[in-house]
Structure formats: structure tokens, C-alpha cells
Symmetry: C2
Subunit: 228 residues, 2 copies
């Protein structure tokens, strides 16, 4: 039996890697990577190809959305805005928020999905742990699914699937380990490409998740603070 196709947004980070592992259970994955001029773009692209090689996925598409850097407004893409230091209890939107980024990404994914006849688009958004980005919430994806229904051909049936959206990051790590996902090939740091900085929001969330899951994180860190 041939599985239906799904486009999987694979940034090269932890959440999207585990999402890909979950998508593979029911779909043939086509991997989509979006470069939006973020500081660590090259390192993330390496992780994308490493994970795709690991899974033997040849249907890959890498798209440049560097206009998001031109538009600016985020510390991820604008070198003049400092990256927020980790503050895991803050309820404000961090400076790394890229305005409406996930809608841009989903739009590309749905265009590709419509052309290749895929039935789903997988995205590894996480509501609880994603530092309060407005476009990481379930209600955003529900609304986007309505847009897809209204804005594609009647013969197209693509839905956005967010399998890790309600999970705590420690459970994402555990699920990844269970499914044999190549977490050692992923990259999360927003600030460095050689060794992870250990102190940006993204490193802090990752290190805390591995610690809570009781698993050693195999990637190298410049400093490795203990986050509880």
C-alpha cells in the first residue's frame, strides 16, 4: 500500500524533527526547508539535509524567504536587534518573533502540497513552550485550515497537522527517542553555528527539556547551564 504524501516543514530543530518522525507513520514525507535570513541559517540547512539523509527522503525543497529579513522587525533576522536572553517565565513576546512568519511558511507549504497532491502539511509548532509567539497557537492553525479550504481548488484536500502543538518539550524529546528520531542531528540555537550558545531562549528550552526527560543532549554547547 502506498502512503499518501505529506509536506513536512523541517527547520532542522528538535520539534520539526520529531514532527517528521511522527508524520512518517502515516505519510510519505516531502521535506520543505525555509531560509528566512535568520542568523543560523547555514547551520539549520545542514541539519535539514542531515535529517533528510538519515530518513532517505529525496523529495526535498529549499526555499529562500529572505524578504522576511528585509522586512525586519525580529532579532532573528535583524543584527541590530539583540537576541533576548532566556527568560522562561516571561509572558511577553520575545524579540526573536518574526512577524507572521508561520503564515508565510504555511503558504509556501500549501502551494507545494497542492502541486504534488499531498494530503497534509506537518508543522512542529509548540504552543506552551514557544515563548508566546502568536502564530504558534492551535487557534491560528484552525483558522489557517479554513483559509486552505477556501483558497485552494475543490479537488485539493490539504490540512495542516500540528502533532506536537499541545506537548511539553520534555515529551517531545521522549517521543523523539521512542521513535528513533535523529535528535543528535538537530540544531536549536538562535545565536551560534559552531557550538550552541546555551543561553538564548531556544537553547534554554532545549536544555531544560532534555534535563526533564532525563536524557543527555548529544550536541555541543559553549556553556551548558542547568535549567530546571
Amino acid at each position: 500500500m502506498t502512503l499518501p504524501w505529506a509536506v513536512v516543514l523541517l527547520s532542522g530543530g528538535l520539534d520539526s524533527c520529531v514532527t517528521a518522525a511522527m508524520a512518517r507513520k502515516e505519510f510519505q514525507p516531502a521535506f520543505l526547508h525555509l531560509n528566512y535570513g535568520q542568523r543560523t541559517a547555514l547551520r539549520e540547512l545542514k541539519s535539514f539535509h542531515d535529517i533528510a539523509d538519515f530518513y532517505g527522503v529525496t523529495n526535498r525543497l529549499v526555499v529562500s524567504m529572505e524578504y522576511l529579513a528585509a522586512i525586519g522587525g525580529s532579532s532573528l533576522t535583524d543584527a541590530r536587534i539583540p537576541v533576548s536572553q532566556a527568560n522562561l517565565t516571561a509572558r511577553t513576546i520575545p524579540t526573536s518573533y518574526v512577524p507572521f512568519r508561520n503564515a508565510n511558511m504555511l503558504s509556501v507549504a500549501v502551494s507545494w502540497a497542492e502541486v504534488i497532491g499531498a494530503h497534509a502539511v506537518f508543522i512542529g509548532a509548540v504552543e506552551e513552550d514557544s515563548s508566546g509567539y502568536p502564530d504558534c497557537r492551535k487557534e491560528f492553525y484552525d483558522a489557517f485550515n479554513t483559509v486552505i479550504t477556501k483558497g485552494t481548488k475543490p479537488s485539493t484536500h490539504v490540512r495542516v497537522v500540528t502533532p506536537v502543538i499541545g506537548m511539553a518539550k520534555r515529551d517531545i524529546v521522549s517521543t523523539g527517542i521512542e521513535l528513533g528520531a535523529p535528535l543528535h542531528l538537530t540544531w536549536s540555537c538562535y545565536q551560534r553555528e559552531d557550538t550552541a550558545c546555551g543561553v538564548c531562549d531556544s537553547c534554554a528550552l532545549r536544555l531544560r527539556a532534555f534535563s526533564q526527560a532525563g536524557v543527555e543532549d548529544a550536541i555541543p554547547y559553549a556553556v551548558r547551564p542547568k535549567y530546571e
Copy 2:
């Protein structure tokens, strides 16, 4: 009194030019042009700058979305798919449909709008005359406005405005003339860049609209059939 900002999607065609003329009544326009590898991209870009010069708009952004050509699936961007000849009574989706194009465009526009603090995004979509593209219908834009509300910061208030969506194309022409819009600087042909072909869907709709409005179209045509 300073008018609020609006991002206006300006392709260089008739509908977006009239939309810009309408937006100027209530907003300071920032003009956004998207190049998605369509056959007539250079000619459309010229029209964009000509119209922006005409209105003295300096806040311009030109974004390359050439990945839509890489994704393919449309005669507008894939030279292997022939452009449909005009068939103004057909109810099928023409080969020039670019999968989910308008969602990609709106996403870029909303990202820019959020960064510059604009209150609106104007797009010249036309439901009736737009050859049955699924992403030209009012219900698509209504759904997209919900996505914007869910996916942007609480302090952001951007709405998509589609002032010509319910208009017949002849009324768009008449409105453009009334508002002094530079229709002579616009470009609609999907096929040629020197003189308009006169026979593609887009030329046919344009020529019929000018004819019905009782106005002479000032741009050059290779052939100028009579469409009723």
C-alpha cells in the same frame, strides 16, 4: 491630520492600480510588489514603479517569491504549460492559476504591515471576473482576516481590504477614470511584454471591460479583438 499607513499590493495591473487609487483616499500607501517568476515579471515591475512615481509613493518594497515558479503547477510560471486562450464563459479553473498564490502574497504583506504599523492591507482581487481562481473569493479573505487576528501580536490591528472584489471589471475601469488613476501605466497581459497579446484571458477581460465602460484602452496591443 496624518493618515494611517496601509500596505497596497500593486502588481502593476488594472485592478491593483484602481485599488491603490481607492486606498489613497483614507490611507498613506506603502506599495508592495511581488515577483513570482511569472512570464511578464519585468514588464509588471516597470508598471509598479511607473504607478508609484505617478503617485509619489517612496515607501516601496519589491519581494522575490520566485519559489512559486520552482514549485510550478501554473502556466504563468511554468513555460511547459500553455497559457489558456480566453474563454470568458468557462467555469473551470484556468491553467494560469498559481496554487495558493494570494495566501503567499497576503502573508508577506501582513508581515510588512505588522513591522511598519500599518492598519490595512489592500489587494485588488476581483471575484466575478477573475476566471474562477479559488483565492479571489470574498470568503477566502474573510477567513484570512481571522488568521491575521490569531497570528499577529495583540497590539497589531491589520485587516485585509478588497475594495474591488464585488465590482464588475467595467466598473473598475470607470472608477479608475473617476479617481484619475493612471490606467495607461498598467499592464495586464500574461503572455507578452512589448505589446499586449490581446488574446490571453487577462487581455480579453481587460479589453471587454474598457469596451463596456466606453473608454479607449491606451496601451498597445498586437491584435485587438472585439470582446462583448
